[in-house]
Structure formats: C-alpha cells, structure tokens
Symmetry: C2
DNA sequence: GATTTATTGGCAGTATATGCCAATAAATCA
DNA sequence: TGATTTATTGGCATATACTGCCAATAAATC
C-alpha cells in the first residue's frame, strides 16, 4: 500500500499525539474532516496503524526501575523456545522482548518498583530450566524515550 | 498523588487503547461521563499520563530492521556526554536511548529500512570522537512488543 | 479528448465532550 | 454519635466531533 504525503502527515501528527481528533488532524493536513477520517480508517484497516497507546510516567506509578536483561539459553530446541516465550508472555514486568544476534539470545526490557521487586523477576527467570545465563543492565538515565518513527522525508 | 481503583482501571483501559472515548471509558469503569472525564484530565495534568502515541507497523513503513546498539565511550567528561547525547537527539533513527550499568555506557534502539540504511547510522555514530566502541545486536524476532505497564493489582 | 476511477467537500443525524450546578457520598471534627 | 466540611458524582445544556451518504471535483486511463 502506498502512502502519499497527506498520509504521512497524518501518521506524523498521530505519533506526536495519538488522541488528536479527526477534526484537528484534518485542519493540520488541509483536508475537510470526511476525507481525513477515511484516510485514518484506511491506515487502521491496512494495519499501518497497529494501535493507540497511552504513555504513563513510570516513576509516578511506582515502576521507576527499568532493566535491560540479556538472556542466554542452554539450547534452541523448539520446546525450549516455546516454553521460554510462553513464560515471558506471562510475566507482566517484561514489557518488551526480542531475539537478538550476538552473544545473547534474548534481550528483555523489564520494569520494577525497586531492587526487591526486580529480584522477584530475576528469580522467576532463573527458575526456567532452559535459561543458562542472565545479565542485568540497569537503565540509569533515559536519554531518549519512545521517539516517533522517522517517516521518510515529507515536504511539509 | 494517589490512584484509586477507578483511576487504575482508566489507565489500564487507555494503555490497551489510547483512543477510547471518554464515554466508553466511563461505561467500562461504571461512572457517568463527567466524573470520568475529570479523572482523565487530572491524570493528564498530574503527569501520570505523559501522552498518547500511535503504534505503527514498522515493516509497512519500511523500517523493518531494529537494532540494539551498545555504545562504549572513551571518557565520561561532561562535554563528551553532552555532545554525544545531543548527537543522539539529532538522529531520528535512534528511537530510544539510555545510559546503562554494565560494560556498555549506552544502549540504543535504532530503526532502519535495511543494512545499507543501518550502515549510515553506524557511520554517523563512528564519526563521534567520544565513542570508543559500537556493538550492534540485531533484533531477529520481536517476542513481546510494548506491553502495557503492569499497574499493581486492581480488583476488577 | 472522452471515459473511467479515485478523492474530495458538504450536509444531516448521531454521538461525544465540556462546563456548570445540585445532590450524594465520604471524611473530619466537635 | 452527630454536625460540618470536603470530595466526588450525575444530569443537563451547549458546543464540538464523528459518520455515512451524495454530488462535485480532480486525477488517471485509454
């Protein structure tokens, strides 16, 4: 599916503020509300927009600790992978997880209130038999957070 | 600021769908629209809600490659830190960045269309004189993406 | 240049947001 | 406990926004 300049403007605006009303978007992209809404719905239906999320202040909801966790596995058998990933899905402190190239197998982003809370997460990970090694890298300071994805140059 | 059960329900709902209308939220938390809207505005003003974002499908906007980049610095002098972080802010392919404990100084999340595109990012990083070492860990598969932050148990 | 196709703008009806006020519920204090 | 204060709620009226439909315009195709 092709995205024209107007679509990109809409996406750019919505990345900045996901709750902009259609009327506001329409005004900013110089369209009347109805075609603008049609574009928005199409972007949603095509799956270009995957969803809308609300960013919370982690300190204020007592999840001030962020840890990047590198996991090395004993093996990569299908069963180990499946069980591990199921466990990950069940741990709500793990907010993102990817398999990665390099010396580790998985990179997780984990949130916690404090060290004690984080320790409980690590304990759970340690209980998983397919996990060989766990390295915790604590986020000390967030320099850039959830920046918008760079949409290729749009002349606006 | 204290969050009661209703506030948490609102936050939970908005993490799942950041574009829910106030009317829908109100219905789901068993409030009439006006007190619900007041709560929402308060959560925004208190900074508990930092903002609303739209999640885009990275493949579909031709940013299918995600790389976690570990950066080691030559030194940690104030000037080096400042210049490095300024450079990071200026690179829109870098969507998150943190200082971390462990052997690396910074952990970045970088998006790119392909290896060639990614190479341009690495080149820019290499040009920075305070950067000593760059390790790229390519995300091979995303297992869990931007999961909602776990709000402490709410009896709903 | 004519025809098809895609996109737009306007309109009407419906739904939603917002500010205000009275009523209710909760908390505080005598 | 009972009275008073405080916080929170629900309802109403108005303004704003969403949505589907149709005609008009613009773009693309032949």
């Amino acid at each position: 599916m092709k995205l024209d300049v107007t679509d990109r403007k809409i996406l750019k605006l919505l990345q900045q503020d996901g709750r902009l009303s259609n009327a506001e978007i329409a005004e900013q992209v110089a369209l009347s509300p109805s075609p603008c809404l049609r574009r928005l719905r199409r972007l949603e239906q095509e799956g270009i927009i995957e969803g809308y999320q609300t960013q919370l202040n982690r300190q204020k909801i007592d999840l001030g600790m962020t840890v990047f966790v590198q996991i090395k596995m004993h093996d990569h058998h299908a069963a180990s992978v499946k069980n591990f990933e199921q466990a990950i899905h069940g741990m709500d402190a793990v907010i993102t997880a990817s398999t990665v190239s390099g010396s580790a197998d998985y990179l997780l982003e984990v949130v916690a209130s404090d060290l004690e809370d984080y320790d409980r997460v690590v304990s759970k990970l340690q209980e998983l038999k397919m996990v060989r090694e766990i390295e915790s890298n604590f986020a000390l300071r967030r320099v850039k957070t959830a920046a918008p994805l760079p949409l290729k140059r749009l002349s606006d």
